[in-house]
Symmetry: C2
Subunit: 198 residues, 2 copies
DNA sequence: GTCTATAGGTGGATAGAC
DNA sequence: GTCTATCCACCTATAGAC
């Protein structure tokens, strides 16, 4: 295993993500990506069938990174600690991978482009199922009330997503720096968990 | 005062809003608006300086609409009922004015497009201050705990925004139709309020 | 105020040479 | 795999006639 030059396909993906993050799906252009990679627009079609296929591939990559963050929460010793850690890691992913986060959760491209390129729900839903599992084991351990784990997970997801996305949009800038915001984030998350306790 | 034929400028605004609602700011085109109004694209420039000016006028309307929704919560009799109603109306606004919502809360375009047309922060922030006031009176009435009302309001805002935006992106489609989702929304909001109770 | 005509720009996608 | 050349669609904006 040696260090290799990134191949063209990889470079296309990297620059495609960059372009998408700068202007959103609206201004995403295959030509601009090709320009940055340093090849002609036509050459892109050797690597991807269409503009949408390229955009879809960008989304898939983000999902994998995201899942990697969440899995780290499994290092905690108790169900509740794992759930809370998952929340913290969710925020970390959002702050450390703003571009990916926007692609995945703050645009309709993920649901559309990914679904179009590869109608595989297993690409997106494992992350949500992971959260449902964290909720389930918290219910089993008595940390959360009995109830539809999917609905509870959706509520928790919405909460952490709301905090993360508003932060990324600059709407919660008054909360201070990232460390201060992480503290506020944890507090708010805990308030919700109290409301979901038995 | 008599009933008059809407003038061209008014008709432009109406159709611009229609086009905007159909495809969002991304696919908004001055030509398409002109087409629907039945005049040439060039004629639009007699009424608006540019495409952005026209779009800005439409967006301003969105902000006013949003505030209108929130204000209806004041019809409730108790502080807690007003806060809960504000939450419900927030969701209603998001679902009934999807593109307005996206522009205001799910993109950085709001600060740019609208800000360019009218750099008045008082257009957006009154809505958050409105929520802070709802929290304050709930603390006074004993429905919510003592604490920084701004932080609590931010947490509540994030929660309703998270639910609303995920719904709009199609990520919470499994929750059923809008009525079913509104029910789930209310439940989740109540859980958070329980966590924020004294 | 509205038109036509036009300038000048974006973009996606394909064909065929190499 | 990559290129150039090309086609077609769409767009914003302006100029000048009426």
């Amino acid at each position: 295993m040696t260090l290799e030059e990134p191949n063209t396909r990889t470079r296309l993906l990297a620059h495609a993500r960059e372009v998408y993050l700068e202007g959103g799906a609206a201004h995403f252009s295959l030509r601009e990506v090709a320009r940055r990679v340093g090849i002609s627009a036509a050459a892109v079609y050797r690597h991807f069938d269409s503009k949408d296929a390229l955009l879809g591939a960008v989304c898939e990559e983000g999902f994998r990174t995201f899942l990697g963050y969440l899995l780290r929460s499994l290092g905690e010793r108790t169900p509740l600690a794992r759930l809370r850690a998952a929340g913290d890691l969710y925020l970390r992913f959002a702050l450390e991978n703003e571009h990916d986060y926007r692609v995945i959760f703050m645009s309709s491209v993920a649901a559309i482009a990914v679904g179009a390129a590869k109608a595989d729900p297993a690409v997106t839903s494992p992350t949500f199922l992971f959260l449902v599992d964290r909720v389930r084991e918290c219910t089993a351990s008595g940390d959360l009330r009995e109830g539809d784990p999917t609905a509870m997970a959706a509520g928790i997801w919405a909460h952490v997503h709301g905090l993360s996305s508003l932060r990324l949009c600059g709407h919660l800038a008054s909360a201070g720096d990232d460390a201060a915001f992480a503290f506020f984030f944890r507090q708010s998350m805990d308030a919700l968990l109290v409301g979901l306790a038995p």
